[in-house]
Symmetry: C2
Subunit: 248 residues, 2 copies
């Protein structure tokens, strides 16, 4: 499994082959064994297989082609609703409409989602997590009919990979992300050392050229993750957290 993890990459193109329901359910059962907050399991997953429903989800993911091309789309949600409904039925009153519960639910959803993908990869499946889920959470809530205290956190498109597999993407050296005992803040010198390999990769140099930028960082800040977009989608998300009852 570790050998498999070492070679892992996101899979965005899938064979025309369905994922059997029995396998999907086995993998979700396995993923449920992941750790979670107080064993309250503050998460849900919505499974989309229907082509029409994938089309309805697609715009929320900026029409990335994986959403309609993948046999299965999984939307992992922070979910305090089920717990609160259980409490309501059991003479208990849960005070779960707050930020801390949202974060705990997000943590639970993410442990579950990553455990699911690890298990799925061992069975020869591949997937791609979509970060667009929290950008357009309002649209996804509408399409999936998510009630109060449920917020979509991450989406996974899933299927059997087509050959050839895409190339792996590089990572920073471990020293860049690991801090021993205390956080050691970055200096221009350590930044240079940690980003040197990434910046000199031919694929990244090409990325700078085709985007007509001077540095790789500018491709991210000026094109892919602009301040304007980050701020706009932060407002949307804050509105969603209020609407879904996690922030008052």
């Amino acid at each position: 499994m570790i050998e498999l993890m070492k070679r892992r990459r996101s899979i965005r193109q899938y064979k025309q082959e369905d994922v059997p329901e029995i396998l999907l359910e086995e993998l979700l059962e396995v993923a449920m064994k992941a750790s979670n907050t107080g064993n309250m399991q503050l998460y849900s997953v919505v499974v989309t297989r229907d082509a029409e429903n994938k089309k309805r989800l697609a715009p929320a993911h900026f029409n990335q082609p994986m959403v309609t091309a993948a046999p299965v789309v999984l939307t992992f949600c922070a979910d305090a609703n089920r717990f609160v409904k259980w409490a309501d039925c059991r003479k208990a009153k849960a005070g779960f409409d707050n930020l801390q519960t949202f974060i705990a639910s997000t943590i639970d959803a993410m442990l579950f989602a990553e455990a699911f993908l690890e298990a799925a990869e061992e069975k020869g499946l591949g997937g791609c997590f979509l970060g667009t889920t929290t950008y357009n959470a309002d649209q996804i809530i509408e399409v999936l009919k998510l009630p109060r205290l449920v917020v979509p956190i991450v989406t996974l498109t899933l299927g059997y990979p087509t050959e050839p597999l895409p190339s792996e993407s590089e990572r920073l050296p471990l020293a860049a992300i690991m801090h021993k005992e205390c956080y050691k803040d970055y200096t221009p010198q350590s930044i240079d050392a940690f980003y040197k390999e990434k910046e000199t990769l031919e694929v990244n140099k090409e990325f700078v050229r085709i985007n007509n930028k001077e540095t790789l960082a500018q491709v991210f800040t000026d094109i892919r993750y602009t301040k304007e977009n980050c701020e706009h989608f932060s407002e949307v998300l804050m509105h969603v957290l209020k609407q879904q009852g996690f922030i008052s």
Copy 2:
């Protein structure tokens, strides 16, 4: 690996045996292969091995004994600081001081953390995720000297498990957490069906008795996760998000 995942349980008691640094670093390298937002790797991990530093962290985790007993304590952090510093050095200006970046960083940190634990378990290690990290994030920031745009999300205590292993904790049936195509909200009838097995387990009945409560849900709402605590720690966390620059 899937067979291992099916039997997984949180490990809170550890042998007096260190985790070799070379193994720890190999496992972190493997975990870095997990998916992340735009390959920006918006996370960091702080590794605590020093006994004095564990003691300093312990109160933030309500002195749960794992923190000082485990050979290694890992604090996984949402981290936009490194990226912003990189941009600063490369004639780029990142607009990352916002909620959306905090959530993306949290997602990245959690994918990394769960992938790490999966890899560690395959090597015979065991661990326990601590949900207290976001409760007392302010204290942890101080102990670990986390700068602006870095927030601790989850802590993992890690070591070699002592025998006998603790018993596995039960989970809800898959039907309780999986929704096909659309979210199907819960009714008193479905709540009864989904929670029946959990509520009739002897260990949970005992849990209700020793806490002198009428229902299992009340143990959670009245003792373990009270409205008062959730709201207090939500205020702390909101303050932390402002102080660290993710919310203005």
